[in-house]
Symmetry: D2
Subunit: 138 residues, 4 copies
């Protein structure tokens, strides 16, 4: 891969040992990858705070027996068709559905969409997960 | 729907007014639904803390050009095929993939799976989202 | 207390039972108080998001042996004397201090103060805790 | 300070540039300090998850006019006198008090104390903040 920079970091030995232990327990074989991951986490939180273009998911549980719920959820989603990339549906049991909607756009619009879905009668739980377009956080 | 219970709640007027305003801004038409939603949120956090059977999602961004990454991710996932319900893949750009894996099982196993995926070279970001089977939180 | 409003809430019996159980385990004797508490939590998160006047704490751990750190921390704090209400200091061991600074003001200024303190050499950890003036959330 | 280790880290140039920019905006002058801080954050979350000895704060808002509340809060705190290091009290207005209790012990006991305080009538909001003894995270 092009564009790798190598630089020196100074840490207290005790701190580094503890980090290495945590890293190994989580299955990391490589300290640079472990540090890169926590750096990316911080940057993604920042992307969302700054209102830049982000990617995220909206995870909902709902009861599909609720009258007119499924058509209401579809109507709302079509309003945001430019933000919605795709969705995935799981039949959890006779009543409960899990739906994961992958979205791309500015955080304000994603939250507005999430609020509208979450307020529908029959939606029991909704979570927004912050992810990224992956650009600039290689 | 069967099994609805109606009970009285006492709140300070000022607090209730503020809650009603927040609720309306989020699009809720119904105070019981708004209260039920925040109760469910608490219960789902509790389900995860207690190690009961839960449902969740694992959202990853990765660079599919990373040598052997895609087969490594598949190998790991097949190890946990009893926990994985389905997955969804988005081609974010030439390099970046977003994958959302829906999982069901005990939180410890879900986190072990997430750790293994996240430690793979080429995976840039991984988030676990806590959701629920929907049972008992009607 | 004046200004109490009583209103009816409808929940599924299963959901209410689970909430009652969680409530009792946490020591609550009163459902209205338990619901009021989670409503207040939501409103306080909202106060911070909206940039209104809030109250919070900044909790730091630092090594007081770090050259010039204590005077640097005092300098920064004096710059924000209108936001800082008081502070509390614990000698954790020979090296480590814990300091809790109680602040009141707009979230942006509190975060700027926290960033400046956290960037000082010798400060090992800093956390901002969101609380409230208590007004309007009776 | 003794015990500093210097090691090399490899990151993509784009990622490092973004991190440097975020770092500077937060006032950091030193990349090693910025990386050490996010490493410590991870380790402190881990200390709390593992049930080791930790330090934390409990931040409460309460209405001191609530009958018998102050003596109830004192009673509970005396029960946990071995965990409580000190407390700080702010008179927010005529009714509202802010109290910050600094605690040291195992997370389970700190949470039990927090639950008991939070369940008292008149306590409007309670937050537990995770910090550390500072040992081993130099």
């Amino acid at each position: 891969m092009a564009g790798i920079v190598r630089f020196g970091v100074s840490l207290e030995k005790g701190l580094l040992d503890k980090f290495d232990r945590l890293m190994r327990r989580k299955g990391y074989g490589n300290r640079s990858k472990a540090l890169a991951d926590i750096v990316r986490e911080k940057l993604i939180v920042q992307e969302w705070a700054e209102g830049k273009e982000v990617v995220g998911t909206i995870t909902m549980i709902y009861n599909h027996h609720q009258r007119e719920l499924t058509s209401r959820l579809l109507d709302i989603q079509h309003h945001y068709y430019t933000e919605i990339l795709s969705s995935q549906h799981i039949h959890l049991d006779q009543c409960n559905c899990l739906e994961v909607v992958v979205v791309r756009g500015v955080p304000g619009k994603i939250k507005a969409l999430a609020d509208q879905l979450g307020a529908c009668r029959g939606v029991k739980h909704l979570q927004v997960t912050m992810s990224s377009t992956g650009k600039g956080i290689e």
